[in-house]
């Protein structure tokens, strides 16, 4: 029996250590109940301390924008903290400007709620909701873009055309936790019971792979929103809109919203870039919209039309097409111009350059600013 003494002693010591660690962890990381004061006391909540601000707020039904679901990779969950929560963390600083650091803007996913805390957030975030939606239809609009329609059941969504929602992707395959990604809504605000998204497959992308290869009609899935600052400004300026790929989504929502609301007089130019006809979609719908909105001009352009495409429209990079149209057809009328962009940071930078060179100031160019 003596040969059992050593292993039993080790096992016993390990057990004691594990119990000690559990007790210490419970004592050291037990922050008890803490108070979160929002916008100078406009809203107060008492919560259990210890989790990130982002998670703590969402568990109370208050949702900060987040394109990465709290992994610290998108920088979207910024909010001003009015109490001392310690210095900025190395995981926050890459996403913050010097002015934001000075103003004590923090990333909600990186700071923990350990004591009473005061924060300031935009008022519209009080209206963000989480929807348990049912996938009604999934349709291929190109070889790599799916149009997904969600039914909100008894719930209704109120939003301005141009806003986005976060799709909560459940664990699948090797992906253990949930993942959130932001997508602009392509449905129009008048349809309060549905949300439509356009989702382009990104090779290796967690959320887009799920949507393209796993999501099924009839499935229940969570959506959080609406978020974002992107929307049309209500004035008489000429709207110059530029998009490519799934950047179509907010513009589809905006144009059909204008139709729903009878805004038929406003001059709108919509430039949509694709490589070849296999990447082009909604051509018929948007040409049809030109007949319903008399001052709406749809300019689809192909950068590399293929043999057999039979393309007779403009060709070249969308920025070159945009430049020539502004110079030759739009600016010559002497009207005030506004730019609206939806796409990658590179596309937004390139279009900004063209618009600035054609006299449209940065203050008149709108797009969702992401890190």
């Amino acid at each position: 029996m003596s040969y059992l003494i050593a292993p039993l002693t080790v096992a016993g010591l390990a057990g004691i250590m594990a119990a000690l660690i559990a007790v210490v962890d419970k004592l050291a990381n037990n922050y008890g109940e803490v108070n979160i004061s929002i916008n100078g006391g406009k809203k107060e909540m008492t919560v259990k301390g210890g989790s990130s601000l982002l998670l703590t707020l969402s568990s109370e039904g208050l949702y900060l924008p987040s394109a990465c679901g709290g992994r610290g990779s998108c920088g979207a969950c910024k909010c001003k903290v009015t109490t001392d929560v310690g210095p900025h963390l190395p995981t926050e600083t890459p996403y913050l400007s010097p002015q934001e650091m000075k103003d004590n803007i923090r990333l909600g996913c990186q700071i923990k709620v350990k004591a009473d805390i005061g924060i300031e957030i935009p008022e519209e975030l009080f209206n963000i909701k989480q929807f348990r939606a049912t996938v009604t239809s999934i349709r291929d609009v190109t070889h790599d873009i799916k149009e997904v329609l969600f039914d909100l059941g008894e719930e209704t969504v109120e939003f301005e055309a141009g806003k986005y929602v976060q799709l909560v992707v459940p664990p699948y395959d090797k992906i253990k936790g949930t993942t959130q990604r932001a997508y602009s809504m392509s449905s129009q605000p008048a349809d309060k019971n549905h949300i439509e998204l356009l989702i382009r497959l990104v090779p290796g992308g967690i959320a887009t792979t799920y949507v393209h290869q796993h999501l099924k009609e009839g499935e229940k899935i969570d959506l959080i929103g609406p978020f974002g600052d992107f929307k049309r400004r209500m004035n008489d300026s000429v709207m110059i809109c530029v998009a490519g790929g799934s950047g179509m989504a907010p513009f589809k929502s905006i144009f059909y919203d204008m139709l729903d609301k009878g805004e038929t007089g406003r001059e709108v130019w919509y430039f949509f870039g694709a490589r070849s006809t296999e990447d082009m979609f909604y051509l018929e719908e948007l040409k049809d919209l030109e007949t319903k909105l008399p001052n709406f001009h749809f300019v689809p352009a192909l950068s590399e039309p293929q043999e057999g495409d039979g393309w007779e429209g403009p060709t070249g990079m969308i920025t070159d097409v945009l430049d020539s149209y502004i110079k030759e057809k739009i600016a010559v009328r002497g009207r005030t111009l506004e730019g609206y962009l939806c796409g990658s940071p590179g596309m937004i930078n390139a279009c900004n350059t063209v618009m600035n060179a054609n006299g449209i100031g940065p203050e008149d160019i709108y797009y969702d600013k992401f890190a």
């Binding site: 998108c74 990104v202 090779p203 490519g244 490589r275 950068s303 990079m317 596309m347």
Partner: protein, 157 residues
């Protein structure tokens, strides 16, 4: 190569859920030092210089960016699509962050494809790391050589 504290930290950061949901090692259970040693040997056998390959990958990434999200033909031989997603990813070695840029290169003559990210180029260039076996983002040296047409590189001493 020894498993230094720096490599140990990097390997911990490569686990699923730390920086990316799937991590950097795929089904590879080897020590990071072994992975680096063995991949360095494969690169030598293929006469592939990591700095040259990284420079070429970066060239295609930048050329692809001209497409503003749509595929573009580069040097008449490749179809390149560079996608920029919002956000950044930290390097597991904790020496910087990269934008979330995905690149797909397709050889127009054979249809062979290579997929990589801005972070993949950094990992190859600065750390000689190609990612573990079975990782979706692993830069397979033979695929890199074939797709980028680097066959004519001379062996490095």
């Amino acid at each position: 190569m020894k498993m230094t504290p720096e490599l140990k930290t990097a390997q911990e950061n490569m686990a699923p859920g730390v920086i990316t949901a799937e991590g950097f090692l795929g089904s590879d259970t080897r020590n990071l030092s072994t992975i680096l040693d063995e991949d360095a040997q494969i690169l030598r056998l293929l006469s592939l210089d990591p700095a040259d390959a990284a420079a070429r990958l970066r060239y295609f990434m930048e050329e692809g960016r001209r497409g503003l999200g749509e595929p573009v033909t580069v040097d008449e031989q490749w179809l390149v699509k560079t996608d920029e997603a919002r956000g950044h990813l930290a390097c597991p070695w904790e020496d910087g962050i990269c934008r979330k840029i995905n690149v797909t290169i397709e050889r127009k003559d054979t249809g062979e494809k290579l997929f990589y990210t801005d972070l993949s180029v950094h990992l190859l260039e600065k750390h000689g790391f190609l990612e573990g076996r079975g990782s979706f983002f692993r830069l397979n040296p033979e695929t890199v050589k074939h797709v980028l047409k680097l066959e004519k590189q001379s062996p490095k001493a």
